[in-house]
Symmetry: C2
Subunit: 205 residues, 2 copies
C-alpha cells in the first residue's frame, strides 16, 4: 500500500471515529469483526452452519463445532447466546474459556409443530443481551440456526422497524423447507414495546 493511500485511509478513519462518537448510543462497539483478506488459495475457514452477520457486532448461526473454532476466532467474539437447554459440550466450553467469551444460555426447547410454545419472556431476555453493546460482538445460535435463532433475530428486526414481510423473508431464507407458521405468528404477535430500550440503543429514528 503506497504512502498516499495510507494517508487517505487514515483520514477517512479519523472522520469515522468522529462519526462513531456521534452515534455512540446507537451503534456501540462495532469494530470487532476483522475481515481477514489474504493472498493465497488456502480456503480453510469453516463458518458454522447457517452463519450470517445480522448487524454490526451481531452474528447468527447453527451449533458451532470444533471445525468452526478457527473461523469463530476471527470474529473476536465477546459473548455467545445459546438458545438450547442441553449443556454446552466440553470442547465448546474450553473454546469459550481460552478466548474469554461469555456464555449466555437460554434453554428454549426445540418444539416441533404443532406442539409449540415459544417462551416470550425468554426471547425478551435474550434480546436484552443482544441489544447491550457491551456484549458485542455476540453470536446467537441454537442447534440449526433456523427456528429459535430465527425468532430472536426476527424480533430484533421488528425492533429495527422492518416490515413483517421482510422479517419473514429473512426467517425463511434460513429456515427454508423447515419454516414454521407458528414461529412467524410468534414474531407477528411479539410486542416490541415490551423490550425496554435502554442500554446503548437510541429511541430516535
Amino acid at each position: 500500500m503506497g504512502e498516499d493511500t495510507k494517508t487517505r485511509v487514515k483520514e477517512s478513519q479519523e472522520e469515522g471515529r468522529q462519526e462513531m462518537w456521534r452515534s455512540i448510543e446507537i451503534v456501540g462497539s462495532v469494530e470487532k469483526w476483522a475481515s481477514t483478506v489474504v493472498v493465497g488459495d488456502e480456503l480453510n475457514f469453516i463458518p458454522p452452519l447457517n452463519f450470517a452477520m445480522v448487524d454490526n457486532g451481531v452474528f447468527r448461526s447453527g451449533f458451532p463445532h470444533s471445525a468452526n473454532f478457527s473461523f469463530l476466532q476471527t470474529l473476536n467474539l465477546r459473548s455467545i447466546i445459546y438458545l438450547c437447554p442441553e449443556p454446552y459440550p466440553e470442547a465448546n466450553t474450553e473454546f469459550l474459556k481460552s478466548n474469554e467469551i461469555r456464555l449466555f444460555q437460554f434453554g428454549i426447547e426445540g418444539y416441533k409443530e404443532p406442539f409449540v410454545n415459544i417462551p416470550e419472556d425468554t426471547i425478551r431476555e435474550a434480546l436484552n443481551v443482544v441489544l447491550d453493546v457491551r456484549n458485542h460482538p455476540v453470536l446467537i445460535h441454537c442447534n440449526r440456526g433456523k427456528h429459535r435463532t430465527g425468532c430472536v433475530v426476527g424480533c430484533l428486526r421488528k425492533l429495527q422497524r422492518w416490515c413483517l414481510s421482510s422479517v419473514f423473508d429473512e426467517y425463511q431464507r434460513f429456515a427454508a423447507a423447515k419454516a414454521r407458521v407458528s414461529d412467524q405468528r410468534f414474531m407477528e404477535l411479539f410486542d416490541v414495546s415490551s423490550v425496554p430500550i435502554s442500554f446503548s440503543c437510541s429511541n430516535k429514528v
Copy 2:
C-alpha cells in the same frame, strides 16, 4: 440511560477505538450502519429484496425501489455497486444524488444457463471497489440479488478464506431454487491471487 451505564459504554467505546486503530488496515470504516431501534410498533422499513449484511460496511440486495429508500438511508451508504448493464432509473439516480452516494456500475449481462459467460475481469474490478474501505458503507446489487451479486460475494468469501462448501451454502441461501452450477463453478475457479490486496486490507491472517 443512567449515568453509570453511560460511563461504562464510553469506556468500552474507548477500548473499541484503540482496537480499531490497531486493525485499521484490516477493517477500515465500519461504524456507519446505525442500528435504528425504536419504541413503537410502526413497522415501516422495507429492505430491498434479498437484503443482507455481508461484512462490516458491505451489504447486498436485489434492485432497490423507491419503497426501499427510507430503509437504505439508515445505512448511510457511501457507494453502490450496480452489476447490470441497464441504465439506473431516474428515481434511483435522484436518491443517490440527494444522499451523496457514488454509483459504480459494472454492466454484467444476466445470462441464463447454459449460455453463461461471467466476465471474470469485471467481477475482479467490482471486488476492488468492494475491498476499498473508502467506498464503505457499500451496497452491492443486481436485479434479484442472486446470481451476479452472489458471484461477487462468493469471490469475496474466497478472499476471506471461507471453504468452498460454505461459499456455496451462502450463495444457495439467496439463489434458492434459482441456484446455478455455472455460477458455483465460476466461484470455484476464481483465482483469488488475481485480486491485488492493496487498499486497506491486510495480508495477515
